[in-house]
Symmetry: D2
């Protein structure tokens, strides 16, 4: 689903980084088009769930899906919205390294809207993907 953008890359990043948790995640907006937003997260040692294998915690990936789906809506509609519910599929273990997150609007509605997001590692492998539903009523 395409459309115009209401917030550009700089506006979105400024809005994104108002949240302390987003700053902790080291987020930056890489690109935004009418079809897709791309956000990058910077690795932190605290992301790890398994200290031996060095896997990133699934909660970090779930968080990124929530944020990037929400900000795909923000690019289109002008601001982020409260999450009604979130669903995440884990496809591969996420090893140490930056995380590239792509978000896309599925349906912008008057009362609720849905968006999806996918997370890739630095070599373009799909690590996790999912969807959120957001309360877009005024």
């Amino acid at each position: 689903m395409a459309g115009e953008i209401k917030l550009n890359k700089e506006d979105l990043e400024a809005r994104l980084l108002k949240a302390p948790f987003h700053r902790w995640l080291g987020l930056s907006v890489v690109d935004v088009t009418p079809e897709e937003i791309t956000v990058k997260a910077t690795w932190r040692d605290e992301f790890v769930v398994n200290a031996d294998a060095g896997y990133t915690h699934g909660g970090i990936l779930a968080t990124l899906i929530d944020i990037v789906a929400d900000f795909a809506l923000a690019a289109r509609l002008g601001r982020p919205f409260p999450t009604i519910d979130l669903r995440v599929d884990y496809h591969r273990p996420a090893m140490r390294g930056e995380l590239i997150c792509k978000g896309r609007v599925l349906k912008a509605g008057a009362q609720v809207s849905s968006a999806e997001a996918s997370i890739f590692d630095g070599e373009g492998r799909l690590l996790a993907s999912g969807r959120g539903v957001y309360l877009t009523a005024a």
Copy 2:
């Protein structure tokens, strides 16, 4: 669904705190019975999504649901398992303060198992709840 416990409170907490991200979340195991595990998370300023209102980020709540559902299975089956998928419903804004998380096994299966978790604030209000499916195959 009831049953015996394979890991007690101390074993579960030791296992839980092996993960750097779980230590960052300030987790401790409050109680474990054959029916339910209770875990507490300690508030951090980095949890905040909205600096004005002080709301806890939905990603923190999603993370806690994943962990506590997984550790409800760990109590029953002897160890945590990789998450296949996670679903979270947000019921109320989560304000500053400790988070009480209760997990329960829905179905322990040979190949996959499902568990649910609910998160409450210090006054017992339901903030979020959800379910995970875990890969329990050997």
Copy 3:
């Protein structure tokens, strides 16, 4: 979450059976309390997905979870609501025979509400369970 009932067993069944698809499913309301609604579905040969093994189609179980979660809200709030999204976990193959469905409100909200449902066979085995989110805004 408890509370008063706005629609009793007869009202709920009358409302339920206005839908042609609900009549096809052979639904009846077995019981309703402030905590839980119980609905029964009558077996049909068309429910089958695997003609050799006689398994009930997962789509039938998903349908029942949507209906019974919605009618748990209807009992509490006075009418059924449009489904925003639905999530279903399949726990065991559902063999030929009647299906007993229990629904419960998770959170009744001003704009959206969530409810859960579980489906059992005639011997009380849990076959599937899940949750729906419903648009309860006026």
Copy 4:
């Protein structure tokens, strides 16, 4: 995610129509490519949830998403698989008329696999979409 097809259009339709419930839904395979399977459902009066407005029941749409996601995997992997869990987002009311369903593999794994599906009306409007996770272990 692309790849080769193991079952062609005729094989998939023959396999699909072995299920009594799929015959009741009036399913046919319209097209299959390495990227996507397209399936059509024929309208029935029993699909209706609201007799006045003529809306299709959400359970019918959930069923179609489960089937078409599963058969996107069947095209790639050679057979359909048991559903572990299913999630459906409802985007618009589905009025009387044929339903066009498109399925796509998200991740084919050794033990579990995920696929997504979208349902459109005859004029190409997105009515519902969702995902399933399937048990692909031998």
